[in-house]
Amino acid sequence: MEANQKAEANQRIVSKPEITVRKMATLAILSALSIVFMLLIRFPLIPAAPYLIYEPADVPILIGAFLFGPLSGLLITVVVSAIQALMSPDGFVGFVMHVIATGTFVFLAGLIYRKIHSLKGAIIALVAGTLAMAAVMIPVNLIIQPNFYGIPIETVKSLLVPAIIPFNLLKAGLNSIFAFIVYKAVSKVVNRWLE
């Protein structure tokens, strides 16, 4: 019994965990930063539609995806969405919408940037991510709005072109610009630490 435990303990020391402590701590702090942005920095993008609020919450997640890859970006997205679900009354539906929207954005961006690891790659990644997110949100809105909030599907359809699509493009675009500027500034410092 005791020998067994010892062997197990040795095994643990020998086999390196898949997610290192350093990486996990960094991803967790980035998640916290995303929630902080959600709470502190928010303003309406389109004056005509004040209920569509912009928040730079995706910026830390994008940075995480650029530093650690698409799967890590997805991991932060899930953590942030789960905490948000605990804090706001949207609950599970909000969680699902957030995971789909942000998840698409950061996964694609992270994937492309990993393949083309250059300034050009970063720009392509962010543009592709922005477009993919705006595209994915069309069917998501058409499914969730009528079924959860009871807004007739015709109304959602009529809002797509004047409000929903431009809002998502603008929001993701702005997040991309922020992420680009911040990543450029911090990546040198951070990459040195993470070695």
Partner: protein, 268 residues
């Protein structure tokens, strides 16, 4: 400038049977309840659900006022959707006169049913966060996700990251506040100007904030490593989650109630 005293999670201390139940029970039941609420369409079943949810709120000892406050952010969308349904559902008009001609009985019932259902989903969901501390919730989520490890879901890491993030949100709020004040003292202006100017004004906040966040992560990782943290396997816990009588009572009550609802909805 910023209220850094934002409480994360909405836990309200108490000693009700709902507080004492295992977080796993509560998470599964609140998810199941969401599905059940969507399945209910007749007037009576929605009414009975309302009574049941309100009774659960009363038993939990969470002030009703507090529960209803959770509806506030979604009030706009509830009203919007109710109005749309009142005016767009086809059926028998309420009266022949002009303003009432456009309103149908079917529309009114549809609007009422949808708003009540949405409100119930929100209330039953917030009952979970009202009666469970964030730490217990993350423990519960980890335990529930454990079986998914087989397909590669990092259950322990997810829960650990959630706990760390919850712990660091107040710290980083304070940090952001400090940096914003420091930049304001240097003449930064966050509240005026057009969209582009406002966006630009945040860059001098974001960069130092990120650098300081990475430094915190570095310190935290060192602290965890020096305490021999090496992942979830083999880790022991101070507080063990345990199913108790409270869980059995709650699960049985909900099961009986849901069975009665389903019979009423689909077999009558």
């Amino acid at each position: 400038m910023i209220n850094t005293n934002i409480s994360i999670g909405q836990y309200i201390p108490g000693d009700s049977i709902i507080h004492r139940a295992d977080p796993r029970t509560k998470i599964i039941l609140s998810l199941a309840f969401m599905v059940i609420i969507f399945m209910m369409n007749s007037f009576w079943t929605v009414f009975e659900l309302t009574v049941f949810v309100l009774m659960a709120v009363i038993i939990s000892g969470v002030p009703l006022k507090h529960t209803l406050k959770g509806l506030k952010p979604l009030l706009l969308i509830i009203v919007f959707s109710a109005l749309l349904n009142i005016f767009t559902t086809k059926g028998t008009p309420v009266a022949e006169t002009v303003p009432l001609k456009y309103i149908t009985y079917e529309g009114l019932i549809m609007a009422l049913k949808l708003s009540v259902r949405l409100a119930l989903i929100i209330i039953s969901g917030s009952l979970l966060t009202f009666t469970t501390t964030p730490i217990l919730l993350t423990d519960g989520i980890e335990k529930l996700l454990n079986p998914l490890k087989v397909i590669g879901v990092p259950a322990h890491e997810l829960a650990m990251m959630m706990s760390i993030a919850l712990r660091f949100i107040p710290t980083l709020l304070e940090e952001t506040d400090k940096i914003m004040k420091a930049q304001a003292a240097r003449g930064a202006d966050f509240d005026t100007g057009n969209l582009l100017q406002r966006a630009k004004s945040f860059v001098p906040v974001l960069v130092p904030l990120f650098v300081s966040a990475f430094r915190r992560a570095e310190d935290l990782a060192t602290a965890m490593e020096s305490r021999c943290y090496r992942g979830g396997t083999g880790r022991t816990r101070l507080r063990q989650l345990k199913f108790t009588h409270a869980d059995i009572k709650i699960v049985l009550t909900v099961l009986v109630f849901v069975a009665a609802l389903l019979i009423q909805e689909y077999m009558w």
